[in-house]
Amino acid sequence: MIPMSSSSPGLNTASFTAEGVLKGARTLFPFAIFLTPVGIAFGAAATETGLPPLQALLTSGTVFAGAAQFAALDLWQVPLPYLSIALVVLAVNARMIILGAALSPWINALPVHKRVLAILLLTDANFADSYAFLKRGGLDVGRLLGGGIIIWIMWMAGTTAGIFSGSLIGNPQTYGIDVVMVSFFAAFLIGDLRSGSSIFPIIVSCIVAIATLDVLPTGWNIIAAALAGGITGVIRHAR
């Protein structure tokens, strides 16, 4: 349930506190540790591409979006193709528009400066954690920033380690690190279903994601699938 219709406009139905930030950081700490190797992989790949340490660190620190960073490295050449880089980053990160929209009932109940803080470090993982928390009736959007901060710290630590010792770390598959993200999301979906959400949008979304995978540019099958799932949710309730 999104607690929006029960509130009149302008009435705060969300809060943003330091305790919430701390709670988010603590909750996602174990997850963030397992993201470090992905940061190491980026640091190593950036160094291999020829980025000096400062540029690699600045990329991780300000972009803070793994898939987009790796995609941009593929385009790193002379002269830099700015338009292609911008479009690829937009395509890979477009799903964050959807994550932000899903969180908007709580985010938009905050004053503007807190909204900026709330979305600043949005990623898939702190979205999944915060959305589940808010849906259970939690109100503290600080949790989203807290989760983002701890992931950011580990992401930067990983990038640093990768820049200076990347080649020493073996294949992340050996440790099962490549499945961390999907396992976490699968767990979120099970939790969501247990709390009474409908399975139909999920089924439609999975079908559309796979059906459009080879047809749409990289990443856009996720957008198409999410929109189809969203529309399924509307149709189910309209009947």
């Binding site: 911008a86 999944a128 396992s183 969203g230």
Partner: protein, 101 residues
């Protein structure tokens, strides 16, 4: 290698585009009247986007990834702890790499 000015410009560009995608969802929704219909849309959207990511990864992966996710799902059903589920999925994938291929 690109000279440093071009490189920093490209990094700034990537950061700006990414920030835009983070901000755009709430910005768009602030201009949309939140009816019951929009509520249902957003609610289905949130699980759909993660489901799409999982489905894509599983479709591109093999039996190793499918087994890991199935075990993560089973642990979530039993314990309701997403971190435990994540750990189980990882362990399953690591063991698969160790013993199967």
């Amino acid at each position: 290698m690109p000279d440093s000015l071009s490189a920093y410009l490209a990094i700034l560009l990537m950061a700006a585009v990414t920030l835009l995608t983070r901000a755009l969802g709430p910005l768009i929704m602030a201009r949309v009247a939140v009816s019951k219909r929009v509520e249902h849309f957003l609610e289905a959207l949130s699980s759909s986007v993660l489901a799409a990511i999982v489905a894509t990864a599983l479709f591109q992966g093999g039996p190793r990834e499918a087994t890991a996710v199935a075990i993560a799902g089973a642990v979530m059903l039993l314990t309701r702890k997403s971190i435990a589920a994540m750990g189980a999925g990882m362990a399953a994938a690591a063991l698969w790499s160790l013993f199967i291929d």
